[in-house]
Amino acid sequence: MVESNYLSVTQLTTYLKRKFDYDPYLQRVYLTGEISNFRPRSGHQYFSLKDDHAKINVVMFAGAFKKVKFQPETGMKVNVVGQVTLYAQSGQYQITIDRMEPDGIGALYLAYEQLKEKLATEGLFSRPKRALPRFPKRIAVITSRSGAVIHDIMTTAARRDPLAQIVLFPAVVQGNQAADSLVQRLRQVYQYADFDVIIIGRGGGSIEDLWPFNEEIVARTMVASPIPIISSVGHETDTTIADLVADQRAATPTAAAELATPQLSEVLASVLDGRTRLLRSFQRQLQLWRQQLQRQQQSFLFQHPERLYQGYLQQLDLLQQRFRQTGQAYLQTRRQLLQKVTQRLGQVDPSAQVDNQRLRVENLQQRSTRAMQGLLQQKRQQAGQQMQALDQLSPLRTVARGYSYASDEHTQKALTSVIDFQVGQTFQLQLKDGRIKANVLQKENDKNE
C-alpha cells in the first residue's frame, strides 16, 4: 500500500490535465493582457500574455491566426478568447486561443493603420507616381457594374473626350470576395497591353464596406500595375490604402474621369492657336529674310554693275591713245632720219663720177690714137726716105742702061770674074728687060789683070 502511495509523473500529469480539460471555466476563457515574446512564425504562433504580476503562455494555431486582421506585436494589449490547457510534455499550462483582437480601438482600424505603416515603410506610398496619359485611348474601369460610379465616369468621359474607350471590368466591391475580385480584375487588365489608365473604385460606405480597398493584396496588386491607376473609393473623407498606392486619387468618379480624359475642345483650341503662332512666326521670319536679301539685291553694285569695268574702259582708252601716239611718233622719228640720209645718198650718186671718168677715158683714147697715128706717120716717113734712097741706088739702074751681069742660077750670086765660071756651067744673065740662061763655052783671062 505504501508503494501505491507514489504516483508516476505521467499519472499525476494525466490527472491534472483532466482537471484542466474538464473544468467548464477553463473551456472558454476571455483573457486580456499584454503580448510578450511575440516572434512571427510561418505556421502556429507561440507567445505570452502578461500583466503586471502574472504571465501565461499562449498558443495560436495557424488556422486561427489567419483570421487575425492585424499584426500582433510585443507590448500590444489584446483581448483573446481560448481554452486553458496543460501541455504534458513540458508540464506547463497554456491558453490556446482562436480569436485575438486589439484592446481599445477597432480591429479594422488597427489593421488599417498597421498596413499603412508597413507599406509606408516599404516606400510604396512615396514611390514616384506615374503620370497620367494626356490622351488615353482605352480606360479600364474596375468597379461594380451597377451603381453611379460607372455611370458618372461614362458621362464625364463622353463629354470631355468622346474618343476615349471606356471598358468596364465589373468587380465585387464589398464583402469577403471583394478583395479577390478586385485583384483578379486588376490582373486581368494588366494582361491587356492596350489600356492607358485604370480607374478603380466604388461608392461611399462604412469602413467595413470599403475594407476590400484596404486589403494588402489589393494594394500590392495595384503597385504592380504596369499602367497608371486612378482610385476613387468612397467619399472624399475616406482614404483607403488603395487611394494611397494609386498614382492619382479622385474624390469622386466624375473627378476620376476628368483626371483620366482631356477636354478635347481645349486641345483643339490649343492646336489652332499653335498653328496661328506657327504661321505668324514663319511669316515674320520670311519677311526678315526677304529684307536681308533685298538689302543685298539693292546694293549699289547690283544697281550699277557697270562700275565694275567703267574705270577700266577709260583707262584702256587713254592707254590706247598714248600707244597710238607713241607708236606714230616713234615711227615718224625714224622715218625722218631715214629720209634725210636717203636724200643725202641721192646727192652722192656716183653717176657724175662715172661721167667724168668717161670723159677722161675718151680723151686718153683719142690722145692715144692720135699719138699712135703720129708715130706711125713718122716711122713711115723715115722708112719711106730710106726706101726711096735705096731705090735710087739700085744696081739695076745700070742694067736698065744696057749693062748686064751674070749670076749663079741657084745662088743668084753675081759672077763678076772668069774664075767664077766653069766651062759648061749654066749661069743666068740679067738684062734690062729680063733674064736669060746661058752656058759657059770658053773662058779666058785678061792679061792685065
Binding site: 494626356r134 455611370h151 474607350q165 465589373p170 486641345v267 483643339l268 498653328r275
Partner: protein, 79 residues
C-alpha cells in the same frame, strides 16, 4: 499625314515644340520651311482627328475575357 504611327500626344508635343522653335527665331530657312510644313501638317492632322471624334460605346469585359457592349439601360443612363 506622313507619320500615322505617332500618337496624338506625340503629334501635339511636336507641334508645340516646332512652334516654340520657330518663335525663338534663329532657325535656318530650309529647316524653318521644313518645320513649318511639318507643323502645318501636324496641326491639320490633329484638327482632323479632333473633328472626326465619334463617341465610342462602353464595353464590358467579364472574368472570362468576353467583351460585350454595356447594356442599353446602362448606355441610356450614360447619355
Amino acid at each position: 499625314m506622313s507619320e500615322p504611327k505617332k500618337s496624338f500626344e506625340a503629334q501635339l508635343d511636336e507641334l508645340s515644340q516646332i512652334v516654340n522653335e520657330l518663335e525663338q527665331g534663329n532657325v535656318p530657312l530650309e529647316t524653318a520651311l521644313a518645320k513649318f510644313q511639318t507643323g502645318i501638317a501636324l496641326s491639320r492632322s490633329l484638327e482632323q482627328t479632333l473633328a472626326q471624334a465619334e463617341q465610342t460605346l462602353t464595353k464590358v469585359v467579364d472574368e472570362q475575357g468576353n467583351v460585350s457592349d454595356l447594356a442599353d439601360d446602362d448606355n441610356q443612363q450614360a447619355k
